[in-house]
């Protein structure tokens, strides 16, 4: 069971990649990219986990009373969420423009160039 959480992260990442490669809709593809990114949250939090530990917040916890999970990877996961959300917003804006200019959101039909 020692590596189960890491394997879950790998599985989520590969599921997202499969969705990206077989996607027939750009909005679906953006969703699949978010799935890939969710794998990194699982991986980061799994790396920082410590058995029988609590959250690294000391407002109602005496420092040293209990072990705490790794705060560095939690901060990284926060950064990850923010960057993921902004990238999703930007990609969806691009999809809106593609849909307006080409009249389709199927990546297979977007082969021709248009000025």
């Amino acid at each position: 069971m020692d590596v189960f959480a890491y394997l879950v992260a790998a599985w989520v990442f590969l599921a997202g990649c499969y969705g990206l490669a077989t996607s027939r809709n750009l909005i679906h593809a953006v969703g699949c990219l978010s799935v890939c990114q969710s794998a990194t949250y699982v991986l980061l939090l799994a790396v920082g986990y410590r058995d029988r530990a609590t959250a690294p917040v000391f407002s109602d916890l005496k420092p040293g009373a209990r072990p705490v999970v790794d705060p560095v990877v939690q901060a990284l996961a926060l950064t990850d969420v923010v960057v993921g959300a902004t990238v999703t917003a930007l990609l969806l804006a691009l999809v809106v423009q593609v849909s307006k200019r080409h009249g389709t959101v199927d990546p297979d039909e977007l082969s021709e160039l248009r000025g």
């Binding site: 020692d2 590596v3 490669a21 920082g48 986990y49 420092p63 705060p71 990877v73 923010v82 930007l90």
Partner: protein, 246 residues
């Protein structure tokens, strides 16, 4: 490339990546282990600067420069969305019609709106003490405003949400973060070093030195950015229409 060949290619590549990932997972330190040298040092540094929420201390004190990069990404993404989703020459703006809302939805939305807004502001203000902070509270506060769109209609939302003002607020918040960093520089310390203010009493609102200031700047930036982003997407859905015949 036919879909069938593509699927084969994905299967072969995916199997290779999966094998490498499993090999890497087997080489990682055991799950739940007790060896976290960076985490232990981050907790020590956070307690030394009297910040109760270690994650806020990591984000706004120990890694404040990285958070500046993160803010810049957010700012650039908002700028990109505003540029991509602007009204083009062959489009025009239609005035949205007043919409009928079911009375229970209206009551619920108007009841929850102030609570959600206050919760967002509370989470921003207590970022250095309890779980949460500028990023989380900013999103909560910004989405709270949009309950007005569900509870009333788009025109009501537009009246309480002058987008131009929020765009200015977005820029001002990024500048505030930079100015706090430069102030530390003028005080003779490194850029964004937490030496400007006294660290205060542990577990009070004013503890943590510049952490609450940077936290507030980030809260304002995220709230403004989410409002501007949602406004641009809602504009596309509600207001902007293609000219007929094009």
């Amino acid at each position: 490339m036919s879909p069938r060949t593509r699927l084969w290619l994905v299967a072969v590549g995916g199997a290779g990546v999966a094998a490498l990932l499993v090999a890497a997972c087997l080489g990682l330190p055991a799950f739940g282990g007790d060896h976290h040298p960076y985490g232990d040092r981050a907790v020590e540094a956070s307690l030394a600067h009297r910040t109760a929420n270690t994650i806020a201390s990591v984000n706004f004190d120990q890694r404040a420069f990285d958070t500046l990069g993160e803010l810049t990404i957010l700012f650039a993404a908002v700028l990109g969305c505003v540029a991509l989703l602007r009204q083009t020459r062959d489009e025009h703006r239609a005035r949205p019609e007043p919409a009928e809302v079911a009375p229970p939805v209206r009551r619920y939305a108007l009841l929850v709106l102030p609570v959600a807004l206050l919760t967002g502001l509370y989470v921003i203000a207590h970022g250095q003490l309890s779980p949460g902070g500028g990023f989380q509270g900013g999103v909560a506060a910004a989405t709270a405003l949009h309950l007005l769109y569900l509870g009333a209609d788009y025109r009501a939302l537009e009246r309480v949400r002058p987008v131009g003002l929020y765009e200015v607020g977005d820029g001002v918040a990024v500048c505030a973060y930079l100015v706090t960093g430069i102030a530390a520089l003028l005080g003779g310390a490194a850029f964004l070093a937490n030496t400007l203010l006294p660290h205060g009493t542990f577990n009070t609102l004013s503890s943590g030195g510049t952490v609450p200031l940077l936290n507030a700047a980030v809260g304002m930036e995220v709230a403004c950015a989410v409002v501007v982003l949602l406004a641009r997407f809602l504009d596309q859905a509600v207001e902007i229409e293609e000219e007929s015949g094009t």
